[in-house]
Amino acid sequence: MKTTLMLMIAAASAMSIPAAGAAEEVLLEGFEGENYWSGVDWENTGQVDLEAAGENASQGKRSLKVVIREEATEWKNKVAFFKETDGIDISKDSAVLVDVYNKEAAGIEIAIGFRTGEGWVYYESPRRQAGKGWTKDISFDLGSPDYKCKASDWKYSAPLAGKENVGEFYVLVYRPVKMSKDIVYIDNIRIK
């Protein structure tokens, strides 16, 4: 009887303890408000038009419509765009998740980038494939050791440093050479 009672108390106590370390998702961008995104002006990126669109949204009612205006060439095979993130701290987070809708063709790849730390050092993740139509929950591991940056000679061999102070967040769309115009929708960028 006593044993049963103690077991019941133990079970009740255990049930009242919240799950420790459960990763909560925070929305970094859902494109529901004003558009704070800009294309980069790097020499090795193609030109792009960005607009908040009321179509192909996976979260809320709007997404970011990315209209790629140039044919991809050998050394200009990507477009990139970014928003300022005001020094957010992602050091306790494990991943970034992105939903992508690729309207025109398969073969594109998505990467994310950050400017972090005191010197706003740029880091870029490895690429992830996105097929035609929706590819949801594309995941980028914030703890992986395979980011690239100037210090790694642009090889995918460095951990993401400065995560406690992220000044800018980037999305990059890589395309096969000779792919002409394309339209991609980005939505539901989360950190968890």
């Binding site: 103690m6 106590s13 009242s16 929305l27 928003k83 950190i191």
Partner: protein
């Protein structure tokens, strides 16, 4: 006998787990009375208006409504509020509930004056709606201060001698009229 000892140990372990999760909680401000918070007017922060409000509360019946003034722009894209205190936070962490209508891009940090020095945490990103139990680990080693050259690389010093508590709310530069509701500020 062995069974009784086993269950005694089990009960003790469960009690310790329970106690650690439900550590004593001290309410620093629930905004049920007058507003004790001031806005900071540093060069790099925008203006804010504050009022105790019954519109959104997560504890009691009132919260603090803080509205960013529209002239906040460029590098003044945050506001800072503060309250004088006399606290020993040697073993405590800070928690708060904060509500925002902004769809995304708003973040919050806290800071402390300890023995005359200012220490600030990193910025935690907020979801739209209620963000409850937003936790700031006061034992973390990534505070920034003048001595760290404003790099997030030092622990909070003199935690037993906190003389002022700050809350910093960052928002995208072009965002106008950001409104947040803050409530249930606790140390535990």
């Amino acid at each position: 006998m062995k069974k009784a000892a086993f269950f005694a140990v089990l009960a003790a372990v469960i009690f310790m787990m329970y106690a650690s999760v439900h550590a004593e909680e001290k309410l620093f401000d629930g905004f049920e009375g007058a507003n004790d918070w001031d806005s900071e007017s540093w060069d790099n922060v925008g203006g804010v208006t504050m009022a105790v409000s019954a519109e959104k509360s997560s504890e009691g019946k009132q919260s603090l409504k803080a509205v960013a003034k529209d002239e906040s722009e460029d590098w003044k894209n945050r506001f800072v509020i503060s309250r004088e205190a006399s606290l020993d936070l040697s073993t405590a962490d800070m928690y708060m509930d904060i509500y925002t209508d902004a769809p995304s891009g708003v973040s919050v940090a806290v800071a402390f004056d300890t023995s005359g020095e200012y220490y600030e945490t990193g910025n935690k990103l907020l979801n739209q709606g209620w963000n409850k139990d937003v936790k700031f680990d006061l034992g973390a080693k990534d505070f920034k201060c003048k001595a760290s050259d404003w790099k997030n690389s030092v622990p909070l010093a003199d935690r037993s001698d906190i003389s002022k508590v700050f809350i910093l709310v960052q928002h995208p530069k072009k965002m106008k009229g950001l409104t947040v509701y803050i409530d249930n500020i606790r140390f535990k």
